[in-house]
Symmetry: C2
């Protein structure tokens, strides 16, 4: 990047191949809707902001290049909070291979953070939601349900400690422990599998989406855009011992872990469809198949039937 | 744009020449800090959002290509408001030659709008704030002070009509009249001279800035970044009969119009420096000259002396 923050704008130098498909996306996080200062540090929120935006670029099959972030926050918010946010942004950009290309700070009544991610197709065609065809396989890179389980654990612990109502500006965050520590970390710092995006495009993926709102809901978006039905095989979904242990810790049936996997959002796994003869590239693994559109209006099936449990994820509020 | 809103991201196809310098910038507008619903329609705010972001790209010498907008607003805000905002965004993008390349809508306690603008240098080198040299001329494209005068007129009229406190969600806006109508329009819908940016780069401008915070304040930024002094000639500044009439209408000395021109922000005129032998391209006109750095720390002079009046513009709050 020849010019960075400090001038009116940043300048990115792209090659002709990179420029043939420049991918851009923007997304906003609002305090108490998309994150809470009682359960996430500013650095956590920085990681989440970067992950959420860069994953949208990867979901087109693009390689992330740059992130811009505009931060609005109350005058009462500590300067330190913005600094720690930047630390988290930088860390996740580095993990994705992207640069921070500028930003802006304003004053507002609550914290509102908008990221804009840029990426390149590196000469490949973008992978849309609308290209899935009957006969394709459905594959998943990354896992789902871990962020939702981590949030459920945090909320349970917060209720116990009455932290939920206290809204301390810089709380001692509850510490994760034992088998569930990884789930709490997954909620605070989602880790999208960025290289899987370009790998899917290179392998000939027919459709792809960032599962930011939950597997069922985002699979339905692909199905609707493509005019097909996605049939998921529950035996292949990432229902782990870790998730079952979390269910037990919360006094639930361990089998209910499947609800998190199907409906929990904000893990930013990538869901893609591939032609039947194509081996999905690692880390994708097959989790279902694409069927012709039915007459009954169902877009997603689980083991051949509509799912009767949760139907999606509308943030934690 | 091969892919528009509806997928995870938009895709822009750039030529190799366009890609060699891709310019990106982001900027946020917050309700009651950067605009008021009592004095601006949603379409006005859309124009202002687009203008503010696209002007930052032009100030690097780039040609605007695309705009992304993320809107956070209360659930009580009318859907119609967002629709009218989009109308204003589209109108100003069209004026700048840019496309709307996507967006995002969230819920928040107050209206927060973040734009991200993309442009291209078309193969030229970006024009930074830091390149001004003693002996250069200082030139201005567009006018300054008109937005601030328009706001002063609106506030005066609002106070009269008690609208300022009523915060109606969809007020009957006060109608501008007579000689001041253009000033109120300039406040509601700033019109940056976008083509002047690339024209300045092509002509060999040594430094450039978007005068979003006022002529004196933004000239000082160029001076500091370049290690020089900018000396403005008040006789060449855009102090118009229109501004003098506004001062009189508000019961002020007509000579005070110069304060608006020097300190009023949000007109998004472009201030640039050119080597002495270069004729600044239209619509730039010479308004001063660049001097070597003094020992006294002054960065901007007016007619050879530090200005004793206003020193800048920190939004209307």
């Amino acid at each position: 990047m020849p010019v960075g923050p400090g001038d009116d704008a940043a300048v990115l130098a792209l090659t002709a191949t990179q420029a043939a498909g420049v991918v851009v996306s923007t997304d906003t996080l609002v305090e108490d809707r998309d994150f809470r200062r009682s359960t996430s540090t500013a650095a956590d929120v920085g990681v989440k902001t970067a992950a959420q935006n860069l994953a949208d670029v990867a979901a087109m099959g693009a390689r992330p290049l740059a992130l811009l972030v505009s931060l609005a926050l109350p005058g009462t918010a500590k300067v330190a909070w913005a600094g720690e946010l930047a630390t988290g942004l930088a860390a996740e950009c580095a993990r994705a291979g992207a640069v921070m290309a500028g930003g802006d700070v304003s004053e507002a009544a609550e914290i509102v953070i908008t990221g804009t991610a840029l990426g390149t197709m590196d000469g490949r065609a973008p992978v849309l939601r609308s290209g899935a065809r009957a006969g394709d396989v459905v594959a998943l890179a990354g896992t789902t349900g871990r962020s939702a389980a981590g949030l459920a654990l945090l909320e349970s612990r917060l209720l116990e400690s009455h932290l939920l109502e206290s809204r301390l500006p810089d709380p001692d965050l509850p510490e994760p422990d034992g088998v569930t520590a990884g789930l709490v970390a997954a909620h605070r710092r989602p880790q999208p599998p960025y290289p899987a995006g370009p790998a899917a495009a290179a392998a000939g993926a027919t459709a792809m989406i960032d599962t930011s709102d939950g597997l069922l809901r985002d699979a339905a978006r692909v199905a609707r855009a493509s005019g097909v039905v996605l049939d998921l095989d529950p035996g292949t979904l990432p229902v782990s011992d870790e998730l079952r242990a979390a269910a037990v810790a919360l006094g639930r049936d361990p089998a209910s872990a499947l609800d998190w996997v199907l409906s929990g959002g904000e893990d930013h796994a990538l869901l893609a469809c591939f032609p039947a003869g194509v081996e999905p590239p690692a880390p994708f693994r097959v989790v279902g198949r694409v069927l012709p559109a039915h007459g009954d209006g169902a877009h997603v099936l689980v083991d051949g039937a509509p799912w009767r449990g949760g139907t999606g994820w509308t943030h934690f509020s």
